[in-house]
Symmetry: C2
Subunit: 578 residues, 2 copies
Amino acid sequence: MTEPSVRFRHRGPRMHTTARHIDPMSDAAIAATVTPEPIEAVGARLGIPADALYRYGPHKAKLSLDFIREIEDRPTGKLILVTAISPTPAGEGKTTTTIGLGDALNRIGAKTAVCLREPSLGPCFGAKGGATGGGRAQIVPMQDINLHFTGDLHAIGAAHNLLSALIDNHIYWGNALDIDTRRIAWKRVVDLNDRALRSIVVGLGGPANGFPREDGFDITVASEVMAIFCLAKSLEELEDRLSQMVVAQTRAKGIVRAEALKGIGSMVALLRDAFQPNLVQTMEHTPAFVHGGPFANIAHGCNSVIATRSALRLADYVVTEAGFGADLGAEKFLDIKCRQAGLAPAASVVVATVRALKMHGGVGLKDLVKEDAGAVVLGAANLRRHVENMQKFGIPVVVALNRFLSDTPAEVDAVRGVLADLGVNVHVCSHWAEGGAGAEALAEEVKMLAARPSQFRTLYPDAMPLAGKIETIAREIYRAGDVALSPDAARRLTELEAAGFGDLPVCMAKTQYSFSADPKLRNAPTGHTIPVREVRLSAGAGFVVALTGDVMTMPGLPSVPAAEHIFVDADGVIGGLS
Amino acid sequence: MTEPSVRFRHRGPRMHTTARHIDPMSDAAIAATVTPEPIEAVGARLGIPADALYRYGPHKAKLSLDFIREIEDRPTGKLILVTAISPTPAGEGKTTTTIGLGDALNRIGAKTAVCLREPSLGPCFGAKGGATGGGRAQIVPMQDINLHFTGDLHAIGAAHNLLSALIDNHIYWGNALDIDTRRIAWKRVVDLNDRALRSIVVGLGGPANGFPREDGFDITVASEVMAIFCLAKSLEELEDRLSQMVVAQTRAKGIVRAEALKGIGSMVALLRDAFQPNLVQTMEHTPAFVHGGPFANIAHGCNSVIATRSALRLADYVVTEAGFGADLGAEKFLDIKCRQAGLAPAASVVVATVRALKMHGGVGLKDLVKEDAGAVVLGAANLRRHVENMQKFGIPVVVALNRFLSDTPAEVDAVRGVLADLGVNVHVCSHWAEGGAGAEALAEEVKMLAARPSQFRTLYPDAMPLAGKIETIAREIYRAGDVALSPDAARRLTELEAAGFGDLPVCMAKTQYSFSADPKLRNAPTGHTIPVREVRLSAGAGFVVALTGDVMTMPGLPSVPAAEHIFVDADGVIGGLS
């Protein structure tokens, strides 16, 4: 053995991280105060045998598809949906409430699992941060889950991009399918926020590199592969849905389905392991299935059907959340996911904060610490409407008010007052600070509500024409006065119905910040017009997307991205993730 | 629970795979004939405690960095390098020989581990197929290793692309570093063969998407992050090397290092788990470290230093391979990896086949089954030169002749005759058909050779000027008559020396198919000119790349890619991987 020569100028011990310490108030530090149970012990709480768990280290596992087939015929538990008011910069805490409620249900003796979406790397390094809850209501190991986790998003990205490569390769080798290179809908994906890739030209540099054409990258979670991954009930259905995706048009305007590119088997091979639901735990050892995470605008924004269905066969209560506010997240959860997967929620929780209601009531971010019950009454109109909407689906509702130190009794009473005539209770929750103990009253009520027979109904029947579905959502949920279909959109809806896609549900791509299509219009606007500029078919996911404005499918990074603050300390611990 | 409505047109049971069965003669089927041991049992053969293994399912694990630090001061075993003649379409079997020799050494009682590169998805779906050996000389589980394995390549890709996104984001938010958008060396990567991404324009679509500029994608294994990943001895060194990468020039021609983009901590966080060496096993349960896999043209083409160094502290013999033929792979292994990591191989095996030597001797692919000892004598000049080259490094050599049924005794004798005066033995090996039992004679000789005191020396000293290093490699290894530096390359070498990079080793990017720069010139050409068109600095990897021709850093797919034949069967088993 020779001594290494100093070819590489090593500049001494960890010069980039010496000054980096884990902030003791950070979520990472709080999460580190508990010792996670071995994942087999977590699975055992749900009666999962150890050999049904495919381990990724001591605290993460995938649930085998064989075991999922075995439990298929078991009776199912109660599904609880956690949704929220229209989001504001004041914060609501939907994920923490999902986790806190799960922990609280277990505390009061109800065998409960939670089902969450898995985080994307893009927001982690951007402005939003991670997606594993906060305070004492977190899932762990938070660093692992926020970074690569078990590799699902990478698998989805690889499957997506393999199809992209096969499309250009097909064109390169003669284009037997006669794909119109101006009409390729299938873009490429990367699991990062990277605005420079939104609009690109590929195939430059001469004949060896193919035919130049316009293209672009979406973030991986916006891929239709992700939407399908989260709706398929089996590997077989996953394959069939992937085959049916429409990726391009021919010169003669015929559709080109993904299966024509002959790579579906490879895509399924890439997705096989990822398709197994991931099992982790909350800080209080409640089993948590964290699996899949489609965009909530151009897709349905909830975790995988296979995770939710599996959890329902293993636990008496399954608490899950839907993306964005209830007008988007819950509506899609109910009209798309539940419709397609045969699920029926037994109860729903609408999450709000006094602070956020004050913002809806017109108070600025800096003034939120001042008591203002009047503003709360005003802004609670937003909450009230979301509650009414949930009731339209026939689901019992309770409101969870995530406590902040600045909240006053008068403000909390104001919220209660606004909802009194709806027969809906408000529970002040403190699971962020106290874990499941801070959400026990909420858990008791959820248990009680869920005991009632299900009255769940979707908002519209399959048979309603597509334009009618859009109008129904706009009037019933958004309280719009009108829907303005662009000529393009109207023509496309007619085309889709003629092509036999008329009985699909509609996936609305609308701003999450308002019931209207204008993100600045907070609270509870009425009489607005919902413009539908464009309509897209997600033939494999099984829905028609109606775009009401600029839809971002590739976020950008802020001027000081979170990536600047993440580090590995001298002990190999990852810090700076929030 | 409601019944799912038939929103998605499921077209019946697994219509895409019913006709798909695993070929019983395929490598996958042969691999499936053995039951792998639990990975803890494999680790125990090397004295690795179970708690030093981070499991990915029952048959894959990562070795903890804490444990690697613990064993740092242990005495080291003998390092055996497996290299090969210049490749031809007839095939050589370098990876199978590495595996077969490892198994054979264990059979004769020598505690042995093998160290291999991990496969890239691109070639798996392209023309080349997987990289886990073949026949009875395979590492398992072959499907897992060939597909996502433990996610290392995805982690490297994410770390690379995060830096790419940070560069464009920096420019977007004001470009305080004054990066010249025409001179950004840092491209993007994807782990697929996708020629359409070789040359692209990004940042189109208006101000919100940034500044349009030329860009391109390399395959992930061509990333400097991969090269660094495979040369760093610790996480700390990994971070330091990443920081030092040169990613762009400023308008004033100053260099912009990666650390200026402030994302190094995040890159290390993304790479932390991946950096732990992967442990799997051969079909005969020999421990196999399969970790890292840089390109063998613009990088050094061997598995990670951290895997090799760890294996040497756990086993008495470590068998490893280097990419391409010995003129490229072994030279870089010795002059770059061994130089930087302080390694000294105790013996080397040069792999050849009678078939391939006949091709070097001028026989066409279709005529290889006909006996032609004369052609073997002619073509063995290629083998002889590679053997002589290994001897120049002071390393004992033995030749492994991978047996094919068409080989005749006269042909094998011809090979022996050509090498007789060099004092090098030739062993006919049949590990492909018989596993380790087919390479025992080779193993005995390797053990004997490795017992001699090391005479290893690098080809050139650090202090030699860069142009001198290129000339030394060209004359000593390639037997060129001359080196023709382009004016650009000559100027760049001078610049690099002035900037203090003169003592770095040189990484030659040359065709693997010939000692010359002309891929059509088989066998043992002399007197040729090695053109150096371009010189690139890999400041983090710690070498200077000399490009002698068109270098492909993003492969394309063939007209019928392997992706068309891969599938998941009705039992969830992946087939069609080769």
